[in-house]
Amino acid sequence: MSVIEASEQANIFCRYLLKTSASETIQKRYAQVVIGRKVTDRKDQRALSIAFAHPALLPLLDSGLKVLRPHAELRFRASVVFALLETDPDYYKYFSIDKLPTLYIFVAAVSAVIGFARTAIGILFVKCLGIT
């Protein structure tokens, strides 16, 4: 994998996680972790190629794999970007634990319902793709 490919991947994961692009620092750090990692499993290769060709499907792939194949390479890479973003002050606002109004409980409940729905659809999707 080239540095450019790694940077693109970091950007895709960052957009999925935070709906924003990855800084050069994040791209560089991500490349440092993944360049040289060999992906030999065909299911992992397929999941990665689908995710990078169609980034809009990442939420479903991630949610489905979380249940069916939690140690999939795609989840590993997404987790790496998650950890890198969390430990960069430029992205602090996305991870800070802010005081929220009491009524936020309804927002959280709706988020949980959406999360469950996404996981349920993700499971079916991942099964259909045969990458479990």
């Binding site: 979380k66 969390e86 936020y104």
Partner: protein, 533 residues
């Protein structure tokens, strides 16, 4: 070759305390230690956790790792093993290897040993627990007092005081409670009498954490960086004592020495070591030897010295169950400046009310260990989990239940010869529970989850840590009144030897639920005193 009065093996909690007792008595002491040091360049800024997170461009170095070594599978195995503390567990694989099919032995060759990542809980053993462990309660009591004077302990005399602190202990004010623990404490105190009638106690955990200056060490600054650094040295670590001892003329410290064997001769003891840099063998002589390299480390040295590769020695380890509990009232509460990550509250179940064979659990708030470590706990993808965790985290409390442990035929260690590695042998560990033990663990877990519910929390699931991950080990050379091979006399000396003492937890023949560290330090002091007699 210079002959020292004493050689102390290991710089951890027991080695440092035994050495201090000997040095204060005027003995000439040499401490032999591998002494792995922290990696340089990982030091966090002096700000609080929240300040550092918001501003420090280099935070990934101590929150993640300098080389971004991202071990996804091992993130939750040892919470204490943050990058700045990882050195505590380094080099053990090559120098003191083990083999086990169902036991995660966590050992240390660091300067300060496992104590460099200790959770600071200073629970004392009840008289009955001390007796079952083979310790003498009266002696232990004076040992507790001595250790508390040395290291400084903060705590409170509340409902749980009979289970946590001895009335004679000098205590500093307890730390300020975190919001979530304050909520729990309030719930308990509201129905205090009712709880006590049912044998349920909740109180402040005594911690080796200063709230007032103590010598050169400073009072706790509430920066919530406890998993990453030791600001102001307010949390006691064994290396702080060893650092102080280095200033005494009758104490010397030698790092880079792995003790292999000892041989008691007519007038001295010959201690064989391997220099970890040159790989050469080096010999040292002393009048008396104090082994303090943890229950498993000491077992290795004793078995190797006897060239015994067949005998099985018993092994004890506190099984540990943690239960994430949620406190809905606290959801959305935001980050709290000035939080304390150490266990601030301890729960005790003593249904007989005799303050003897009780069970213990402790409560931790979760904040500074980062979302990436727990994001997999929710059944969602990473994006949905992040959104929810930012709301849920202020209401998350971890309850850690520590089970006692007794010896059985299914828990033992033995030494096995190997070749082709830096070490010539490894410790073979077998550790399995009986059916009855598992039933007892489950019963205790149910009692505590019920107690947690009554305190207004919602326990989620019970997570059983891998065997051995409590990092509490004991019992390899159990105390015995009668002469027995591979056993200790009640004063800590090794049967069959006149001048070899063991100051760590090897002698404990039962491991009570409350963490052993404070008791092993008190015992180390008593063993050192006995050796002086």
């Amino acid at each position: 070759m210079k002959k020292h009065d004493y050689i102390v093996v290991g710089s951890g909690c027991s080695g440092s305390m035994a050495s201090q007792t000997l040095v204060e008595a005027g003995a000439n002491v040499l401490m032999l230690d591998v002494g792995v040091l922290p990696t340089t360049g990982l030091k966090p800024k002096s700000g609080s956790f929240i300040q550092n997170r918001a501003t420090d461009k280099n935070q990934h170095k101590y929150l993640l790792d300098t080389d971004l070594a991202y071990d996804h599978d091992n993130l939750s195995k040892v919470a204490q093993a943050t990058p700045t503390r990882a050195y505590v567990f380094e080099e053990t694989g090559s120098l003191i290897p083990f083999s086990a099919d169902c036991f995660s032995a966590i050992e240390s060759l660091a300067y300060g040993g496992l104590g460099a990542a200790w959770g600071l809980q200073c629970w004392r053993y009840s008289d009955s627990d001390a007796t079952s462990a083979g310790l003498i309660p009266d002696g232990l009591s004076s040992g507790y007092k001595k250790i508390a004077e040395r290291i400084g302990i903060s705590g409170a005399e509340d409902a749980a005081a009979p289970y946590t602190v001895d009335a004679s202990l000098p205590l500093q004010e307890p730390t300020k409670l975190n919001q979530i623990q304050r909520q729990l404490y309030r719930s308990y105190n509201k129905y205090h009498d009712d709880f006590i009638k049912r044998g349920l106690y909740l109180g402040r955990t005594p911690l080796a954490l200063l709230t007032q200056n103590h010598g050169s060490r400073k009072a706790y600054s509430y920066k919530n960086m406890d998993y990453y650094t030791d600001y102001g040295h307010s949390a006691w670590r064994p290396w702080m004592t060893v650092d102080e001892l280095k200033g005494k003329s009758n104490f010397s410290y030698m790092a880079g020495r792995l003790v292999l064997t000892f041989k008691e001769e007519r007038n001295s003891i010959l201690v064989k070591t391997r220099n970890t840099l040159t790989k050469q063998t080096e010999d040292f002589r002393c009048h008396k030897l104090i082994l303090a390299s943890s229950a498993m480390g000491t077992a290795r040295i004793v078995l190797r010295s006897a060239d015994d590769f067949t005998t099985r020695l018993p092994l004890l380890s506190n099984p540990y169950t943690y239960v994430p509990c949620i406190v809905p009232k606290m959801f959305g509460g935001g980050s709290e400046e000035g939080k304390v990550e150490f266990a601030q509250l301890s729960a005790f179940i003593d249904q007989l009310g005799n303050k003897q064979n009780y069970s213990v659990a402790s409560f931790y708030a979760y904040q500074s260990l980062m979302l990436y470590r727990i994001v997999d706990q929710l059944p969602f993808g990473l994006r949905d989990s992040r959104n929810l965790l930012r709301y849920l985290l202020p209401g998350l409390l971890i309850m850690g239940i520590q089970h006692p442990d007794s010896p059985t035929a299914n828990k033992f260690v033995s030494l096995k010869k190997i070749s082709g590695t830096a070490s010539t042998d490894l410790l073979n560990i077998v550790y399995r529970f009986t059916e009855a033990e598992m039933v007892e663990h489950s019963r205790r877990e149910k009692q505590f989850t019920k107690f947690a519910r009554q305190l207004g929390t919602f326990p989620t699931k019970r997570i059983h840590s891998p065997n051995g991950s409590s990092i509490h080990y004991a019992g390899t050379l159990p105390f015995s009144e009668k002469e027995r091979k591979y056993a200790l006399r009640p004063d800590g000396s090794l049967w069959g030897h006149r001048r070899v003492y063991v100051a760590d937890s090897s002698g404990f023949k039962y491991l009570p639920g409350p963490g052993l560290t404070f008791s092993l330090m008190a015992n180390a002091h008593k063993v050192a005193e006995a050796s002086l007699a």
